[in-house]
């Protein structure tokens, strides 16, 4: 049950291995990795900068997780979200969840990522060769917010 908001890059394999060892007895392990896409809006992304309001991000994350833990039977989770400069093809986000049964794991991880994208205080700026753009929240993500709120 760990949450890391960190500047440093991370390897999925290492974290997955450690997590699996601790959760040997669980029937299902599901993971989600969000990465920087090399091309967006037909422009080549040089890198992205992720800004964080850390104090609020931690508080909101804990609230969301405690709400989801009441909803779904989960044995363990690990969340890593990077901030600062991140290059294309690098990982931004890792969520791993262990559960006895797959359905609750799937619901937990999908809900968590949905909430993360509309509640947790990170912001992305994409840097291109000659300009940049602050990423806008997707309407599809906002819709999830409205139906879930």
């Amino acid at each position: 049950m760990k949450i890391y908001f960190q500047k440093e890059s991370f390897l999925v394999q290492e974290n997955f291995e450690k997590f699996s060892k601790v959760n040997k007895a669980s029937g299902s392990i599901i993971s989600f990795v969000g990465k920087v896409r090399p091309i967006t809006n037909n422009k080549e992304v040089i890198d992205i900068e992720i800004e964080i309001y850390k104090k609020m991000a931690i508080i909101q994350m804990k609230k969301i997780i405690s709400m989801l833990m009441k909803k779904y039977k989960i044995l363990d989770y690990l969340i890593i979200h990077r901030f600062g400069k991140v290059k294309p093809q690098e990982n931004i986000l890792l969520v791993i969840v262990a559960s006895q049964h797959r359905k609750e794991g799937f619901r937990f991880i999908e809900d968590l990522v949905d909430w993360l994208k509309i509640k947790i205080t990170f912001w992305k700026k994409e840097n291109y060769l000659n300009d940049y753009e602050w990423v806008e929240q997707k309407i599809t993500d906002r819709k999830i917010f409205l139906t879930k709120n």
Binding site: I59, L93, K117, W134, Q137
Partner: protein, 82 residues
């Protein structure tokens, strides 16, 4: 009151925070009007950055929420992490 700015708003303002004296009971909308009256830079920033959201002591609140001088107010565009 401590006011924090993030992302596009921070960039447009050219700063990440302000510390201003506020009389308790004012609304966030009043605080923003006060800021906008400071100078053209604030006015432009608050006019240009759309869909601003507000958090009082790390909880999402409405623009009509009243504030106290000891609160921490954060103003930012919709989040885009993940």
């Amino acid at each position: 009151m401590k006011i924090l700015y993030f992302a596009k708003l921070r960039q447009h303002l050219g700063k990440s925070s302000d510390s201003i004296k506020i009389s308790d009971g004012k609304k966030i909308s009043d605080v923003i009007n006060e800021l906008k009256n400071k100078n053209g830079n604030y006015r432009r920033a608050f006019d240009q950055v759309k869909n601003l959201q507000y958090a009082l002591n790390c909880e999402y609140v409405d623009i009509e929420q009243t504030v106290r001088d000891r609160d921490e107010l954060a103003i930012f565009p919709p989040v885009t992490g993940g």
